[in-house]
């Protein structure tokens, strides 16, 4: 019965592994999942642990993992053919409005992973897609070629100026908007919380609709334990991770 039971972990096998940069690899799994970009899964390795990961692709399922600590490093030890258990898709993903318009994607760190998945979907639906990809230095940039290959117009930023604009992703905001092919722009952002807050503030000032993929400490991922609260009562796992506002500022309705 397990396939029908959405909440149980299901085992996948690693079909191939793509090295994205020195610290980041994408696990391409052996099956697909009906999901929206921005939704996440809880990845479980028995006897190791369970953590949230954005879907970097759904057909087949892909996870783009930066090795930063024990669990993500364990994911980096997986070889082709090894198993990984996922429950999900969980949460609310990006919800592009219709009709199609211009999408400005803003990504920092492994936040670019779900944005590439989103770009594929947007392009298929007839959107014009631009993207700002930011990182500390050139070596940390992620998925730039993949986005370029899709036909996404790209602005790169690095804090050390080693590639693209020197500065933060938000510093490329005005340039990217000026170059936008049309006025109906929606901003989709994923990355560190500081970047997201800055993007939200910029969009507020400019009156642009925005969708932000937030992060929080996830435990149950079913909206009960409260550990992923952000702002004054939002549950990142259930109301998010994608919010149509800055959840640290706006209040949930009920």
């Amino acid at each position: 019965m397990s396939e029908a039971l959405a909440g149980l972990h299901r085992p996948y096998r690693v079909a191939s592994i793509r090295l994205e940069n020195a610290a980041t690899r994408t696990l391409v799994l052996d099956r697909s999942l009906a999901a929206d970009p921005g939704q996440f899964v809880m990845a479980w390795l028995p006897d190791v642990g369970e953590k949230p990961f954005s879907l970097a692709g759904a057909d087949p399922v892909c996870l783009t993992v930066a090795a930063v600590g024990p669990f993500s490093r364990a994911l980096h030890t997986l070889a082709v053919g090894d198993r990984i258990w996922l429950r999900g898709p969980l949460g609310r993903g990006f919800a592009p409005p219709s009709p199609a318009g211009h999408a400005l994607l803003v990504g920092g760190g492994y936040g670019v992973a779900p944005l590439r998945f989103l770009a594929e979907r947007l392009l298929a639906a007839g959107w014009h897609v631009s993207a700002i990809v930011g990182a500390r230095r050139a070596a940390d940039l992620l998925l730039v070629e993949a986005l370029a290959a899709l036909g996404v117009r790209l602005w790169l930023t690095t804090e050390d100026g080693s590639v693209g604009l020197r500065g933060l992703a938000t510093d490329a905001f005005d340039a990217a908007l000026t170059a936008a092919p049309e006025a109906r722009t929606t901003v989709f952002a994923c990355g560190p919380v500081g970047m997201l807050a800055a993007v939200a503030a910029l969009c507020r000032t400019r009156g642009l609709p925005v969708q932000l993929a937030w992060e929080a400490h996830m435990r149950c991922a079913v909206g009960l334990c409260g550990s992923c609260e952000v702002g004054a009562g939002w549950l990142t796992c259930l109301d998010g991770p994608v919010f149509p506002c800055d959840p640290t500022v706006a209040l949930p309705m009920g």
């Binding site: 909440g7 972990h9 085992p11 479980w44 369970e50 435990r219 149950c220 909206g223 409260g226």
Partner: protein, 328 residues
């Protein structure tokens, strides 16, 4: 706006007048004042904070919860900031809830009978409207809980300790004792805590269970064992409430598997005074309270019931039903 305390869903619980019989169950998003306020804005008539113990606890590692198809299983491990910090959070929660007209329930647990009294005294500083005594959390092994809810003697001892600890306060809050479903005769436990001075009973906590992943050949929860809630628990909770309602003349917070307005009606008919709602937040979002309220009101209108009190105990044997209407 019309007076919400007169609307069909308004009901009495102890000295409190609630605008809805739905009570946010303990451990469900009750970890912060803002989340408690959100449940209240969504339509909960009363909200319960996450259980707190004497000292901070991080809880168990992930996985801590999942939906196994027939319900949920969890072993959060009583994550809490300790009684002192909790008292401050409760005070802040009270401030947010006051304008909404929604009473606040503090929930406590401890490792020894004496500690239960101490924790009760600390959280009472925040003047919650009720203190719920969680003697039944199944997820912390022998360290806490299980033995207290399992025997009439230990259940009564905890109840008594909490009562004594609160007795010296100028306005001691009433106390509800939360029972476990995994006992041979829950009526006996209910009678024991009633005799020890409980003002109300909350029934039930989660049922001990385990989910195994056959491919992994492992229990899924990091804690291996956990507590079952949601749909699978509903018939167990209904029976527990049904038996408690016949055993004691105390109001009951009937809790377990309530997802819809009809589920809530069934719980009231089994003898509950008000209805705890927990796992529904996963199945329907925090909006669950608004939805269940609407469905319950619709059910009552369609069936010709004018008030929540009319539903109470309808499924009890006739004599018990009359007794319950008269006394509780």
């Amino acid at each position: 706006m019309h007076d919400r305390t007169k609307a069909p869903l308004a009901c009495d619980f102890l000295h409190l007048r609630l605008r809805s019989p739905l009570v946010l169950a303990s451990g469900i998003i009750g970890t912060s004042p803002t989340l408690l306020a959100r449940a209240a804005r969504s339509g909960a008539g009363m909200v319960t904070a996450k259980s707190c113990g004497p000292t901070p606890r991080a809880g168990h590692p992930n996985p801590v919860a999942l939906d196994w198809g027939g319900g949920l299983i969890n072993a959060i491990g009583l994550t809490n900031p300790g009684a002192e910090h909790e008292a401050a959070l409760l005070a802040e929660a009270k401030r947010l809830l006051e304008p909404l007209g929604v009473p606040l329930v503090a929930s406590i647990f401890a490792g020894t009978v004496a500690e239960f009294g101490q924790v009760a005294a600390v959280v009472a500083q925040a003047q919650p409207d009720l203190i719920e005594v969680n003697i039944s959390c199944p997820n912390v092994g022998d360290e806490f809980g299980t033995p207290f809810a399992g025997l009439p003697e230990s259940a009564a001892a905890v109840t008594d300790a909490v009562r004594r600890a609160l007795a010296s306060l100028p306005q001691p809050p009433p106390v509800s004792v939360k029972l476990a479903p995994n006992v041979p005769d829950i009526a006996r436990i209910a009678r024991a805590v009633a005799e020890a001075g409980a003002d109300a009973i909350t029934a039930v906590n989660t049922m001990p269970g385990m989910v195994i992943d056959a491919e992994a050949a492992r229990p899924v929860l990091a804690n291996r064992v956990g507590g079952i809630s949601g749909p699978a628990l509903k018939p167990v909770a209904l029976r527990a409430v049904y038996e408690i309602a016949q055993a004691v003349d105390l109001p009951i917070i009937g809790t377990g598997g309530v997802l819809t307005g009809v589920d809530a009606a069934e719980m009231l008919m089994a003898g509950a005074t008000v209805v705890g709602v927990g796992s529904a937040v996963w199945y329907r979002g925090v909006e669950a309270f608004a939805q269940i309220n609407a469905e319950l009101q619709q059910f009552m209108a369609a069936q010709g019931y004018g008030s929540v009190a009319e539903l109470r105990g309808l499924a009890l044997p006739p004599a018990a039903r009359e007794r319950r209407c008269a006394h509780v």
